[in-house]
Amino acid sequence: MASPDKLLRVENLALHFRTRRGPVQAVDGVSFELKRGPATVVVGESGCGKSTLARAILRLLPRNVDAYRGHVWLNGTDVMTLSEEAFRRQVRWVRMSLVSQAAMNSLNPVIRIGDQVAEPLRVHRIATGKKEALRQAGEVFRLVGVSKDFLGRYPFELSGGMRQRAVLAMALITKPDIVFLDEPTSALDVLTQTNIMNVLKGIKHDLGVTFILITHDIATSSELANRAAVMYAGQLVELSDARLFFREPLHPYSQKLMASVPTLREDKKLEFIPGRPPSLLEPPTGCRFADRCTSRFGKCEEEPPFRDVGGDRWVKCWLHA
């Protein structure tokens, strides 16, 4: 049994997909711990496995799964041992929910927004009766900054920002412990994006929901981050306090990634990372970043451990082992 403040503990989680050319190791050997409260952002480039990680934890698996193993402890229970039905009843959308990428376009066009947002309550029998469910939907609408009058409208009557808020309301309505946000604002305009970030900050503060924000946009990720995690080629390479991370990332990949982020207010020499990430069909056996790393040395032939380097900072690199 983990200590009570450890909300989520993931150990050696792996999710591999079967393809015609062999298994793709989309997520491979990811371990980390989360406390209740602080929001974590997971950043990485496309194809690094950040969305797959969320899906692996929520057990939202496609059909072509080749391997799915590891442990996910939620409040001290290993939810990986639950049956699919028990997981659906007790965990998914009850304890952990998801705002998936481009979720605002996944609303059903022929069902009123209110009914869609209230649906989780009725499926999980949390609310008794439609009226009560709609009343609760109205409450979450207020939280995300949408007027209650919108409950009876259809998705096409709402703007993109409003639909995104409605989808967020749907993820919050069951009062889950953890909400995964997969690129929640990337399809929106800059000002709308900032408005939604403000809403998320407010909810984090008022409701104490633990957010896990998955994004490729490092600048925007800093709007919510208390802790920052970096993924590369299916693995977690760095996890640390956001303050330390944004000032001085430790892993060579994180450093290069930060150096490539353009800044508005200060001049800096931008860099880019030559080469491309390795294929996840047959990833290198050693450090997966070694090929593109400027500080590589002999030891990088072996896989580095993901270890605590002190001060709540975890790095997967031989330079810090």
Binding site: V190, G202, S221, S222, L224, S260, P262, L264, E266, F272
Partner: protein
Amino acid sequence: MTHETLLSVRELRTWYELRKWGFFRAGYVKALDGVTFDLKRGDAITIVGESGSGKTTLAKTVLGLVPPTQGEMILAGEHLDGQKRGKALAWLRGNVGFVQQDPYAALPPFMTVDRILREPLVINKVSKGDQDARIDAAMGEVRLTPQSDFLHKYPHMLSGGQQQRLVIARAIILQPQLVVADEPVSMLDASVRVEILQLLRRVQETHGLGVIYITHDLSTVRYFSEYVFVMYAGKIVEKAEVRELIHNPLHPYSQALLTAISDPDPDNADTVKEVPAGEPPSLAHPPSGCRFHPRCKHHMPGLCDREEPKSFEPTPGHFAECWLFRQGGTS
């Protein structure tokens, strides 16, 4: 570098017609409504705006992909409007290059790199011997080297960055005078983005090209161009040098846009940013007067909601279409 005017746009309007019922016209979407600017040879300008601000329509109009409804467009001394549009267009296509947003969608999947780059040369009747030399040079310039490794490949065999470099090579292969880049890096990963922007900048400098860079992301602007135009609801609301705009934005909309953009800073997590609520207006029925007035905190009733602001120039070279600066005198 000669500093003559390459492209001159006056009061350009591009309206899309809404559905018609018989003789009844439902109205127009005024995607571009009175845009005026000059681009000098060898300069790069950036146009920033949110979706629906008309920035892509501006690109399409300059490229000749949609006919302007009204207004004047002069590229290198040639008038591009009204009569003889067909002939002018053929000339225009050879002189304006286009870098699209999504490289994968912009490249025909069934053509090899060689075919893709040769096509414009064949159409424009470049001699056989010249074709190979030009393809070789363009690929060298965008660093798709060694050329022989890439020539026989299809777009899907290239990485996102390489595809975008191929799109740039195709845009410059006819040696245009102007290149329009519509969100050239928004589909790419952060680490590749910088590479492409630097490449575009280098190409621009070596050939003395005029470049119109269209983006929604203000943070990349300072690494790319000298001038920024901010668009809102079909109009350019502010024009200034990049540094001037970043440090001293005048129009309330530009100010909001700058507030909204984050730099990677951990302090962001603790601050709530003050940005106007609401969304850009419908372009079929834009608000009267200043189009930003319903969201503006400096809104002056009786003026902003009645009269369209003129272009004022409070400091030299810095233009804003906002009544707040009316003492500065009109330009």
